[in-house]
Amino acid sequence: MSFTEDQITRYSRHILLPEVGGKGQKKLSQAKVFVVGAGGLGCPVAYYLGAAGIGTIGLIDSDVVDLSNLQRQVLHHTPDVGRPKAISAKEKIQALNPDVQVNTYEERLTAKNARELISQYDVVIDGVDNFPAKFLINDACYMENKPLVHGGILRFEGRVMTIVPNESACYRCIFKNPPPPGVVPTCQEAGIIGVVAGIIGTIQATEAVKLILKIGQPLTNRLLDFDARTTAFREIRVKRNPSCTLCGPNASITELIDYDEPEACAL
């Protein structure tokens, strides 16, 4: 596959970079990224990946756009209120860059469909808003051996970590199990500064691009925590946990688990 003149112009600022070049841009155009959630994190991730010329973006979200989403979910516009998020997001990505193939799934990620969906992609982005889904994505990516870029946001804070199965610490190496339902507030209950979603989402997109291009050092074995109040990042070193129930030598989790899901917070 070769680029048209327009494509060479569109991606010229990438191609200029010695670490990317035409070869790297080609890798991006052949890459497939699965974005779970088309909300606060999923929107900036998918928007930048679309602009970057990622060949295929998979978007899964079962929600419709709510007026209260628009403060941060930047792919959804006022006329989209009431429309499916996956469709709304796809339209904006393709308006920005018609080169991108966007696959939409208007459903929830579950223990039944997760592995099958994830197996079709090269990199997975966690843009979900609840713990059962975060654990499900972590487990499914480990089982399908797909790199995952985890993200979380709450109030003024955010967190990112890249997970390369069998090479770096997974989410369960740190957090064994989801917290009991109801004890950790959601964005819906506790609020979120909209732009924090943009900061964390764009770091997730950066990680995905690096993983595809195989450049630099991925954010593996490091939790990156951001606090908007002080505009400070803190990096916490982590490592694979020998007692991890998913990726440790005595792992006990061999199948995906649908934890009791609290009402999806339609943020």
């Binding site: 959630g37 909300g39 606060g40 994190l41 999923g42 929600d63 989403n69 979910q73 966690d126 843009g127 979900v128 808003d129 609840n130 713990f131 975060k134 993200g151 979380g152 946001i153 709450l154 804070e157 955010g158 967190r159 190496c173 740190i174 957090f175 064994k176 917290p179 009991p180 004890v183 950790v184 959601t186 964005c187 979120i192 939790l223 803190r234 916490i236 070193r237 982590v238 490592k239 946990n241 007692s243 917070c265 339609a266 943020l267």
Partner: protein
Amino acid sequence: MELTINGKVENLEVSTVMDVLKAKDIDPQLVAVEVNTEMIDQENLGTTSLKENDKLEFLFFMGGGA
């Protein structure tokens, strides 16, 4: 003893990780604890002794995304 907790030096009268959680009124269910970059299993929080200048990281759940 002097401990570094989430990057800040603090002086606390404690002997185990659980003592620190109690002193700070932190529910052990809501936090993952690392001592000198080793994750401490939930069931060992009360038996993990601390010494001068240990570095603790309390990692709280952060579940939002949408």
